[in-house]
Symmetry: C2
Subunit: 304 residues, 2 copies
Amino acid sequence: MAQGRVLVVAATHGNERNAPWLLEQWRQRPELLAAAGVELALELGNPEALAANRRYIDRDLNRSFAPELLADPSRQELEVQRARQLLARFGPDGDQPCSVALDLHSTTSAMGNSLVVYGRRPADLALAAGVQARLGLPVYLHEADAAQTGFLVERWPAGLVIEVGPVPQGLLSASICRQTQLALEACLAVLAQARAGRLRLPEALWVHRHAGSVDLPRHGDGRPAAAVHPLRQHRDWRPLTPGDPLFWSADGTVIAYEPGANPAARWPVFINEAAYGEKGIALSLCQRERWGCELGWGDALAAL
Amino acid sequence: MAQGRVLVVAATHGNERNAPWLLEQWRQRPELLAAAGVELALELGNPEALAANRRYIDRDLNRSFAPELLADPSRQELEVQRARQLLARFGPDGDQPCSVALDLHSTTSAMGNSLVVYGRRPADLALAAGVQARLGLPVYLHEADAAQTGFLVERWPAGLVIEVGPVPQGLLSASICRQTQLALEACLAVLAQARAGRLRLPEALWVHRHAGSVDLPRHGDGRPAAAVHPLRQHRDWRPLTPGDPLFWSADGTVIAYEPGANPAARWPVFINEAAYGEKGIALSLCQRERWGCELGWGDALAAL
């Protein structure tokens, strides 16, 4: 077929173990992922980190795809090398070129079954809108955050992250696997529909657009002075109201949510994601927006 | 005071981060843990593993207290050395002797707020019964498992584990902290009552007595062939009935629970604990028993 293959990546983070387990099952029994008839390349993102049950070895692979980083010959961390290798093999100009990348993640946050889209590429928006119409999944639109760049899917013509939680790191969970499979099947079905000229996008796509992140209160030496308040834990996607309890100290002190410069940015996501402590993120805040779907989106996806 | 100090240990496992965070708060503000008036020694079990955010460096510290292991000069793993050091400092014959050890743990399993008791030492049973009467916590009684030995608290005259979950590894959770603090306060209050001659034990102690463990179905090379069934996830302490779904394969196949040699051992605990994969434990099974409290239990605790 003329249309490009789809790269399905698992274990971009080595301690997110559900997608790589699924990938192993799909390799043994390809019929489990064959319904849409899309040609796939199934690949482990970071096999070394998976073997070590760690998010990464030298640096976060999913922050290692920035063009300037990839082009810098002095950067030889394991994950930078792996990013180059993945692109050389499966990139749009690679040996086994893929036109779409679907990157399977899990999180300790109660994100449910959700999609993460980076920026506003029409094909990505078509894919997200199509899946949202099928399954109702919430969409976290990540853009314009200088502190968070170099995501894997950005280096392919189209792609998104399937993000499922809550699940502890290092743990196999049947429910997380089933949700991952469901979202991936929906992505492939939407893509197949687009390629067949049969994709009907919904009227609108609801996105939660990233506005910024909030860190835990910390002591001068960096140690947390408080934790996420129990009433916030597992309340991803539920909007905050000024005065809502946000953080909790061991002596019972409560720190309440106060709106920042953009009071519309009150939908929290990635609340208490274990891997984000080191990034100084206790939660991110989004603005919820309704975007009318454009005809061109579906055309962009169909062309891939 | 003539009576011994109580050793409170956090971060026996370095990726269980709630207790060590609490311990830091207690060190800064000792009044947060002073209600019972018991003299305490607050200690990090495995600071190296905590710094690395790993369960352990060389071997599980909470399986490193077997007397034959401690006595073997050829064993120099970091955790064996640390076990010797903890005993030399805080052991019953140490520099700063403690008579009771309370070891604070968390788990990815939905154990809630619970106690783990090792064997049937009267003082441990008094402590557990007193806390159960106050808070209703379930008690997992671990004994006679040749595959699991060398627990920290066994080397002190009395002691138990406070086990709280579910919480991912590496994550700070206010709710887990609050439960940990509550259970610890109850332990100290019961001990103080016993020492003051005012402890009234309940009529009976309910225990979930360890009978054995069940591993995931695995392929010949050790990789999991199935995951814990979604209907079992987070159902710790809920008894199994023959035919209940137990494991789930990616192709939808369900493996049902079938009673083993001891059909009374049908209360599951530590369902899908992330750290137990390497131990070949998907869950453990217990027999639920009602033990009449004996007068001597309280006397044994009061003497410490």
